[in-house]
Amino acid sequence: MSITTITQSIKELSWIETVKAKYLKAKKQLSKKYRKSLAKVKKTSALKVSFNLTKSIRKSAVSLKPYFKDFWIFAVIAAVIVATQVTLAVTTIGGIYVNAAAFLILVGLALWKERARTLAISATILPVANMISLALPQTTEFAQTVVFYDSILVLALIYRFMFVLDQPLQETRLGKLGYLTLLPLMAIIGQVLGVIGYLMLRHHYAFDHASLPLVAACVVVFALAEEIFFRGLIQQRGSTLFNPVLAAILSLILFVFSTIGHVSILSLIFALILGLVLVTTYFKKQNLILTFTINAVTKLAYIGLMAGFIFR
């Protein structure tokens, strides 16, 4: 073996060593990167990962749901609530019996059909709120309305909390830009609706003897209660059961018939207009802050215009 061959093989060996060192370094770096990414994945909770996955799957599944799937559940819930509200408006004692029957039918539905459970139990809030209001008579209509709304708000909040524990709600938060552009638009829509409400219902103002600042403060809570119940529970729970369009219609029916009164048909027509705007907004954006803004601004604009009308 000549010296040149030996030198060459030594060179080759050192080259192999360099390559080996480079390989080891790269491996180390790779494993470091791998470990980092693994830690990152671990950091993201299992719930969040599965939630993000199911979110997209659920979204596509919802849009593929047939229109008349579980239509009978929709029909039962709508029928019992409409029957209760209409009978109460026509004959109070008869309405109380129908109200009790509605409560039992909805509880029975919730016990019988597991898939209808959360929606049926949410709809039960309305008969129970009726019971509370009838059991706690107040001296003024304003105080009676406050009791009615408060019972709806408390029960709706309890149920939202309970359902969120079991099934996390869909991510519906908007970005800063989304809120900056949409909130003023919602406020404008609310003001237009408030003016329409004033034009239709200025002769049917129910809270004559209550102080205006108190009424103005309370209507914001009323709007919150309506949104959490009709959009946050009925429409949101309904969308998980049947087609979102059907859920929106159910929410609209319940909203319109809950405003039924003994004074005028105009309140029903206005509730239909307001309800249509609110369910469409929730259907498009799935965001309660937006619908709450419309509802609260509508009520505040109405109360403000009424103040001008009363003290003119």
Binding site: L104, M131, L134, A135, Q144, T145, L155, L274
Partner: protein
């Protein structure tokens, strides 16, 4: 514009009917729940918590009724 209890005046007659019906439906609802879940293992009954707020409200109203009746009687 506002949700309403579509009742003009709540008389004593209406008041009493509500409380009697509350008692009746509470008993019926509890019997139904008992019949449906008598044979069900405990871990499958977890969703019964959904009914608790409604029953608590009705029980609360009944206690209020009893308190009022006692007030009237004394």
């Amino acid at each position: 514009m506002f949700l309403k209890l579509p009742v003009q005046h709540i008389t004593t007659n209406i008041h009493n009917t509500v409380f009697i019906l509350n008692t009746v439906i509470l008993i019926i609802a509890l019997i139904v729940v008992e019949l449906v879940y008598a044979e069900t293992p405990k871990k499958d009954r977890e969703h019964l918590k959904y009914f608790a707020p409604l029953f608590l409200v009705i029980i609360g109203l009944l206690i209020y009724a009893a308190y009022k009746q006692a007030g009237v009687a004394s």
